[in-house]
Symmetry: C2
Amino acid sequence: MATQKDVADRAGVSFITVSRVVNHLGNVKPETRARVEEAIRELRYYPNRQAQALNQGFTRTLGLVTPRMFDRPLFDNFYVMSLLSGVEMRGRELGWDVLISTDYDRRGAFDFLRVWHQRKVDGLIFVGLGEIPPQQLDEIASKGIPVVVLSDRIASPAVSWIDTRSAEAVADAIDRLVALGHREFAFLGVTADTDYNPNFRDRQRAAREILAAKGLGLEVISAPAMFDAGEETPKLYLAGSRKATAIISGNDSVALGFMAGLARSGLECPRDYSIVGFDAEPSGRIHRPTLASYAQPLVAMGQAAVTTLLDRLGGAREKVERTFPLEFVPGGSLGPVPRR
Amino acid sequence: MATQKDVADRAGVSFITVSRVVNHLGNVKPETRARVEEAIRELRYYPNRQAQALNQGFTRTLGLVTPRMFDRPLFDNFYVMSLLSGVEMRGRELGWDVLISTDYDRRGAFDFLRVWHQRKVDGLIFVGLGEIPPQQLDEIASKGIPVVVLSDRIASPAVSWIDTRSAEAVADAIDRLVALGHREFAFLGVTADTDYNPNFRDRQRAAREILAAKGLGLEVISAPAMFDAGEETPKLYLAGSRKATAIISGNDSVALGFMAGLARSGLECPRDYSIVGFDAEPSGRIHRPTLASYAQPLVAMGQAAVTTLLDRLGGAREKVERTFPLEFVPGGSLGPVPRR
DNA sequence: CTGAAAGCGCTAACAC
DNA sequence: GTGTTAGCGCTTTCAG
């Protein structure tokens, strides 16, 4: 592990000259520079970022924080994975590494800010956090911790956020379904995730409001957990007194589980009901019928989070609120209201 | 950002006492300890890991290195995502954070070891690297860089690895297909990825050898890239003179693309051909027919990589070679050989 | 143009 | 039991 001192010895200069060469600053005679650069190459010297960080106060690392990223490692990660892709891509472009910080504890016990306090990262991107405890929000504000939240709108003036315009998409979905003759709507959610997952919460709320404005109601079918969507939500649907013909699902994976469950009871889509999801994940393209859905520019959102965070680290103080549109992805899961 | 000194001032002791309390070592009078602990809580003091790392020489962070993790951010990440899940879970359990390090450059230009050289991490887990340039292997060996490779078998005595027993699964698949009467086999690969992706390479090689031992041949159908599998491999298959009835696909996502492509030409599975994949990803369960596949214990492999790496960091010097079995996941994509 | 000194926050070794 | 000194590798004054 070569240090600046080793390089300096080899090049016959003092270590401070090495520092200048490495950081491209100060006046260094070209030939001195050349000698130093050669020594750097020979010794495969890399600046020790721990030491740089200790000195300069920043690490060029950003933290991606989520309390539940991997609690279903094999299933519902299309969403977070795509965001992570965007974060990682833009970070790499700009020379920043990404540290992943997760936790499996109950919400309250999860210290979202740990890696920042430890000075492992300079700023934080929160994903899928649901509610941030007020105490931690206060701390973010009082200490000026650079935080950008993905996929939720945070009231605190200290926290910037990036979100999608879910309500627009929900309105679009309802228009399409109404045009097909549907009048009985249900929202497919997950109990544990609905108060946890801001996307589900926003979509459900938007559906209720938009339908109410049209004089229509919204039944809510919530499985106890995302994982049970294929088992429980179909049962709940079948047990209901009146059966909605138009289903808006919190996301695609819940929708696909639901469709599979109903198929086992002989209910087919779009013959017996229509359904639309969110995320436009690849599984929905493979399913028969294909699942109508709303694609979110997740990679672009991850990239925007990095840009926003680095602006903040660069000195920008204003809160940033940025929304992205969703795009309808047609599918065979939408059809005319069944006669009955 | 409170430091040990701040805590010390508040508790009326010297900073070294704070250090002792934080690290639970040395003799500290219980009441002194209590006062210090209170000051720590009041000031929300966290040890600065940069400084600790500089001093102790380690960071309690490990690097997950892949040169191509996100170059198809939206599609073929079930595999890497699951490995990452295992790495992250086990790391968290043991108090280690995970730094993601990727690159989009051509292989040769990618400096796999950068984050280690920079002392941002203590050890590295490589995923999906294909070939590691000999020069970097030499450096790993000569500098004793702690590296564990996931999903490939590295000859270098300096590098431990974790892999699956692909050949066993290929043999099992061939047995099943032969039992169904199939005699004409093809391997579905990806040109760009075959010499890149050790899994594809191993599976193709195993298929060739096992079939040769039975006196059977293997046609190879390789799309130019993973992304083109749904466009190009069906064309290549249809253009071939004799059509294999038994297809072994490098992984599930290529298989699903292939099936969709052939369906457009009126060829149906399992009526016209049988196909088996690898990874057992959720999309294959959703597809009709369901895709027979081989599940890999990816999360467990990621966990094993962390354990192996930490053993190494703890002083273990022996190279570790560990293999995991694959498990057959039945599917409707296997059927008797078509009469023709 | 180059070097010497100080200090980032922390821990290890050695006093008292 | 507690404090002092030195130093991890680097950058930032300030000198020469």
